[in-house]
Symmetry: C2
Subunit: 242 residues, 2 copies
DNA sequence: ATAGCGCTGTGAACGAAATCACAGCGTTAC
DNA sequence: GTAACGCTGTGATTTCGTTCACAGCGCTAT
C-alpha cells in the first residue's frame, strides 16, 4: 500500500516474500505445475541461448501469459531486472529449491505391465532427484528381473523395500480391480503421494495426495470439445500459432 | 426467485434447462471430466446393483461431494426423485447424449512406440463410439502391421487416411522434437482435438483443443505435495477412507 | 545529460468454480 | 392420517485463480 522505496536488484521485504520466508508454502497446484514446466522448458533450450529471458518469451515457450509468469516467479520470491529479464541459470536453481527435495525423493511403481514398462523407461531418463527406485508386481514371471535399470520386486516385499529406501511416492499401473488395495498397502508402508493411472478414483485417508491420471476422461474431454469446435462457433482452449 | 409450482417427475422449465434446450452447451471442462467419470463408475457397478442411486452414493464412488453431483446433473437437465435418487440406466443415457457424438468419433494415434502401443491396447478395449481408427509412424519397421486391432500407416498417408475416415481427434505419442510438426500436419488434415503425451506444450492455431498429458509435471506435483504433507501440517487433496 | 521506452513487481478487479444452505416434496413410521 | 425425515433442485455465497493496469526504474539512443 505505502510505496516505500524498494530496491530492485537487492530484494527487500514485500508481503509475499515475507510470507514465504516465514515458512509458509503458498504454492497452489496450478503454480507447481507451471513452475515444473518453466524449468523443463528452460532446460530444453538450445545450448547457445541468451543467459536471460523475459516473461513474454518464457510465457510463449510454455503457452501461458507474461502476467502469469511474473506472478508465479513473484510467488517464489524470484526477481529479474526490467532490462534483462530473468537470469535463466538462477531461475532454474530457484525453481529447484522450491520443487525439489534437497535430499532427493524416491518413487515406487507397482504393476509392471505394458504401461508400467513404458513409464519405467520414461522415468529413468529423468533427473536423479526424483527417481523410481523400485518396481513391484504379483506376476512371478516379472519379478526378480531388472527392467530399464529398475529392479522388480514381488509385491510381498513392498512394505520392506518402501521402508528401507524411504519411498514416499507411488506410481500405480495395476489393473483397476487391484489398485485400491495396493494403494492402501502402500499408505500403510509410508507412501503419501500417488500418481494413479488406473481408471478408478482412489479413496485414501487424509494426509495423502492423489493425482488421478485419468486417460479415459481426458480422451472424452478432447472428443467433447473437438466436437464443440466443429459444431458451434465455440472455443474452449485456444492456442496461438507459433 | 418466484417459487412457482414445479413438478418433480415431469420436468418443467427452469432457467438452466431452458438455456440447454435452446442449444447453448454450457458444460465447463471440469464438468465434462466429472460426467465422464460418473458414467464410467456407474457402468462399472456390479450387475446386481440397485436401479437407482443417490447423489451421496455417486459422489462417494467418484470422490466428489453430493452437492457437486447434483449441480452437474442439474446442468445437463437430468433430474431424479428425492426418494429414490437417480435412475442409473437413464442417467448413463443422458450423459451419453451429452458427451458422445451420435455418429461416433474417430481418433488417430501417431507414434507407435512403447507408450503408443500401450495406449492402442488400452483404447481398443473401450466403447466403439470413440475409437482409435488408425495409427501412424515414420519407422518402416512398424508400419503395415496391425497392432491391437489397429492398422499402422506410414506417416505420409496421414492426410489421406484422416480425411477418408473423418478423424477429428489425435493422440500424440511421438518424441518431443517431432510433436509440433506432426500436430500441425494433423491440423491441416482436419484434426481439431489433441491428447498430447509429449512433454512440450503444443502451439496450435485457434479453434483447436489441446489436452496436455504432462506426466513429468504430474510426477513433480505429486512429489511436491507429498513432501508438503510429510514436512508441515498441510493437506492439499484429502480423500476419505473407504 | 536527458528523454523515452519497455519490462518488472504487484495491488486491485474480475470471473469462474466449488460450496453452502434451504425450500419443497415424497416416503416411511407409527 | 399425520409427523418427521432425508433427498433433490437451486439461489446465494465463498473461495480461488486469472487477468488487468500501472507505478517505478534501468537501459538505450540521441
Ligand atoms: N495401457 C495403457 O495405455 C493404459 C492407459 C491408461 C490406463 N491404464 C491403466 O493402467 C493399468 C495397467 O494397464 P496395462 O495396460 O499396463 O495392463 P497390464 O495388464 O499390461 O499390466 C498390469 C500389470 O499389473 C500386474 N498386477 C496385477 N495385479 C497386481 C497386483 N495386485 N499387484 C501388483 N501388480 C499387479 C500384472 O501382473 C501386470 O504386470 C490398468 O489399470 C489400466 O486401466 C493403462
Ligand atoms: N514412455 C512413456 O511412458 C512416456 C511417458 C510420458 C511421456 N512420454 C512421451 O511420449 C512420447 C513417446 O514416448 P515413447 O516412450 O513411446 O517413445 P518411443 O521412442 O518408444 O516411441 C516413439 C515412436 O514415435 C515414432 N516417431 C518418431 N518420429 C516420428 C514422427 N515424426 N512421426 C511419427 N512417428 C514418429 C518412432 O518411430 C517410435 O515408434 C515421447 O514424447 C515421450 O516423451 C512417454
Amino acid at each position: 500500500m505505502s510505496p516505500s522505496g524498494m530496491g530492485m536488484v537487492v530484494p527487500e521485504e514485500t508481503p509475499v516474500r515475507r510470507a514465504r520466508r516465514t515458512g509458509a508454502k503458498p504454492l497452489s497446484e496450478p503454480q507447481v505445475s507451471r513452475l515444473s514446466l518453466y524449468r523443463r522448458q528452460l532446460q530444453a533450450r538450445p545450448l547457445a541461448s541468451p543467459a536471460t529471458i523475459h516473461s513474454h518469451a518464457l510465457a510463449a515457450l510454455c503457452g501461458t501469459s507474461a502476467a502469469h509468469v511474473r506472478r508465479d516467479l513473484m510467488t517464489i520470491g524470484f526477481n529479474g531486472s526490467p532490462a534483462r529479464g530473468y537470469d535463466v541459470e538462477q531461475l532454474i536453481g530457484a525453481i529447484g529449491r522450491e520443487l525439489d527435495d534437497p535430499d532427493g525423493q524416491r518413487a515406487a511403481l507397482v504393476g509392471v505391465g505394458q504401461l508400467g514398462r513404458a513409464l519405467l523407461d520414461y522415468f529413468t531418463t529423468r533427473r536423479p532427484n526424483l527417481r523410481v527406485a523400485a518396481a513391484f508386481d504379483v506376476d512371478p514371471a516379472k519379478t526378480g528381473r531388472v527392467i530399464h535399470g529398475c529392479r522388480v520386486w514381488p509385491l510381498d516385499d513392498l512394505a520392506e523395500v518402501v521402508r528401507e529406501q524411504g519411498i514416499t511416492v507411488g506410481v500405480l499401473t495395476v489393473p483397476a480391480e487391484a489398485v485400491q488395495e495396493v494403494a492402501e498397502r502402500m499408505v500403510a508402508a509410508g507412501v503419501v503421494g500417488f500418481l494413479n493411472f488406473a481408471p478408478v478414483p482412489l479413496r485414501l485417508p487424509a494426509r495423502t495426495f492423489v493425482e488421478e491420471m485419468d486417460i479415459t476422461t481426458s480422451m472424452e474431454r478432447v472428443a467433447y470439445f473437438a466436437r464443440a469446435l466443429v459444431a458451434g462457433g465455440r472455443r474452449k482452449d485456444e492456442h496461438r500459432a507459433g
